[in-house]
Subunit: 416 residues, 2 copies
């Protein structure tokens, strides 16, 4: 079976000039990868006819599928539809079914249809309309020399629904696809090169049809094993055996598999041990609570938080003593401990966790530079604390602190 | 003066297959755009020699500058350096200055240098080393037929320091660059097509050398006016005049200019009116506090929060009455009001703002479906409330609620 290749074309000056972040191509690539379509190249070009036509032409030489996002908006700078109509030599004509969709959307939003929006129902005659349930620009499916070209709006929320409901199922029917299996091991608290040294023997002995990739993220490294074969079950069994072999050497860094996030792992432990938790945050300013509550169903174990940005709140609400704040300062092991103990007592939970630090850019001193963070966990009769020193900007320091705190929590709970 | 074109090449299977989100190319494009270098195309390819060489060859045909990120890691799947050495016909040799840098990094981290890391100091003979202050993989600067090719690591934190300190200044010296001015108007609370209708006369009458782009984001649309010319000051004056002309028709949607975020705008108002604020969050679970505290210096006006995820916390800490919760439920105008009043009283601030809603995916009813959110603001003798109905997933609902709440706050404060 030959490999099926796809390319993703992103159209829009706003992407090209860095005005907005493109999250679509990541999402699309991953979905294609999951069904065994190999993404060969991703290209971003501006709202310019010749650039679009050139890029499309080149992609079609290399690959079987070209998925295009962007440039379908109702405003004057969007030219994708017109360009595609010319490229495929089709007239733009009113598509009654597309008009119905647009009218329907406006009815649901309770807004009046404008002339600009009515024009979105004009499509190249000969393309297949793809319904946009979440917006006004329809998608378009073209076929040429057995290749497939699809144009979608750039709004992620609209594109994703279109892909999941219509385009991916249609691609699976249209092309014969191989069996691809991915297995992901999620690690935290060890850098890429140290991890690589730990498992280098194992990696060297992997068979040809199994590939390993290191995918570093914030404070984390994902290990992705990819297998290509014919028979899914045999491939899965083989890969599971390989994973079983490597796990013992990296066990303490592994918090889960697949798509799991560190907050999911923590949530699972809390649920299985029937523990309730509350947070007391200073430098993270709500971000630790946000990560914990990003998990659906977290209300089962997460009670709430006091964000004590001002020192008065640390004293009045969390019971941090005046003396502690004076002797050791707000960013100290002592303050972190009293915060964790205080929130647990106040919210009557099994566990209290706290963060206090200097996120920056200002507020650092020689003794406590920007990035100095203390965290504490109160549980049973114990309080455990940890200090970290972060090198980043304000937002990065906030995000890393939350991740560190979640991992600290995981390690502490694992020992219970 | 002819235009100088650049392309960005991203190398890495992890990007191509959608395992990680590429934020580098946005950052790079924006920096290039700011100094008047036109980004013509962005391309992502995998860790494969022929793909890298082909893409580089094509980019060099179209453009003057090729900036490459990724594929410089110490692990076995990273082949960029070797591929570039072959492409430019250079031997890899130990670069003593690069070795010093790597040793220095390891000293600072307090870790032992591994063999794998020592190999990172081998560079193609003939390239210029670019110091990596924040990691172990050095950057490389190549020149060929008056064109510039630069290879950088994919870690954003490392790449950004390299670009800012070395590469951008060097590019500015190397190429003659035109004058480009961007002015951005930030709007909130109006959709792209409605905004376009409001200003269509003005847009139609813009002179040729001024371009307008609509950049939609979460609940927001940025209007970007781009001017190309010779003389910066004249261009700026002309653009300011154009902006003055369009502003009156969209005034109530405009919260600021340039890079400003809605939380910055709110912070500016709070500071200028010398008001202190506290938050009481349920469905947003700390995300509203996070947005407010993402602003450096927010401790000047932000006192803290009670996140009342559990109803007991709403009662015990915020003073929401049992009767209110029973009669109207946790997601109601009445509960939102009592939360806002309660947090303001408890934290002794001028303003209290609250959110309570059903983020999903579970917890919705026919009367209150997922996405139902109430928010309230308590100030002076008043409480104002607002209900919104959101269509998204859990995370989107949380993010949109925070943005809506910030805009609600801005509108309420503006009226004072």
């Amino acid at each position: 079976m030959r490999e099926i290749f796809a390319e993703v074309l992103t159209i829009g000056d706003e992407i090209l000039y860095g005005q907005i972040l493109d999250t679509n191509t990541k999402w699309i690539s991953r979905e294609l990868d999951d069904i065994g379509i190999k993404v060969r190249r991703k290209t971003a070009i501006g709202d310019k006819k010749s650039e679009i036509t050139d890029a499309l032409e080149e992609s079609l030489k290399r690959s079987d599928i070209v998925l295009i996002t962007g440039g379908l908006g109702p405003t004057k700078d969007d030219i994708t539809k017109k360009t595609l109509a010319e490229y495929f030599n089709m007239e733009l004509e009113l598509n009654p079914s597309a008009l119905e969709d647009v009218e329907d959307i406006f009815r649901r939003f309770g807004k009046a249809l404008t002339d600009i929006n009515r024009q979105q129902a004009y499509l190249p005659a000969g393309c297949r309309k793809i319904r946009n349930e979440r917006g006004t620009a329809p998608g378009m499916w073209f076929e040429k020399d057995k290749k497939v070209i699809v144009s979608m709006p750039g709004v992620p929320f609209e594109m994703e629904a279109m892909m999941s409901k219509t385009i991916l199922p249609r691609l699976k029917k249209h092309f014969p696809l191989p069996t691809i299996v991915h297995k992901v091991i999620k690690t935290i608290g060890i850098g890429e090169s140290w991890l690589a040294e730990e498992i280098s023997d194992w990696e060297d002995n992997l068979p040809e049809h199994l590939g390993l990739a290191y995918l570093p993220g914030k404070g984390q490294v994902r290990l992705r094993l990819t297998g290509v074969g014919e028979e899914r079950e045999a491939l899965e069994t083989e890969m599971d055996k390989q994973i079983e072999e490597v796990l013992p050497s990296i066990k303490k860094y592994v918090f889960g598999f697949g798509d799991i996030q560190i907050e999911d792992a923590v949530g699972e432990i809390l649920k299985s041990k029937e523990l309730k938790i509350a947070t007391a945050e200073s430098c993270t300013g709500g971000f630790l609570a946000h990560r914990l509550t990003a998990v659906p169903g977290s209300s089962e174990y997460y009670w709430g938080s006091v964000i004590s940005y001002h020192n008065d709140i640390k004293k009045d609400e969390l019971g941090v003593s005046e003396k502690t704040l004076e002797s050791y300062g707000a960013v100290s092991e002592e303050t972190a401990s009293e915060m964790a103990v205080g929130i647990r007592k106040k919210f009557k939970t099994d566990i209290g966790i706290s963060t206090t630090g200097i996120a920056g850019p200002d507020g650092g001193t020689e003794e406590k530079p920007v990035g100095t963070v203390w965290m504490a966990i109160s549980f049973g009769k114990n309080v455990v604390t940890r200090k970290i020193q972060l090198p980043g900007t304000r937002i990065l320091n906030i995000e890393y602190t939350a991740i560190h705190a979640l991992n600290f929590l995981r390690q502490t709970l694992d020992k219970q």
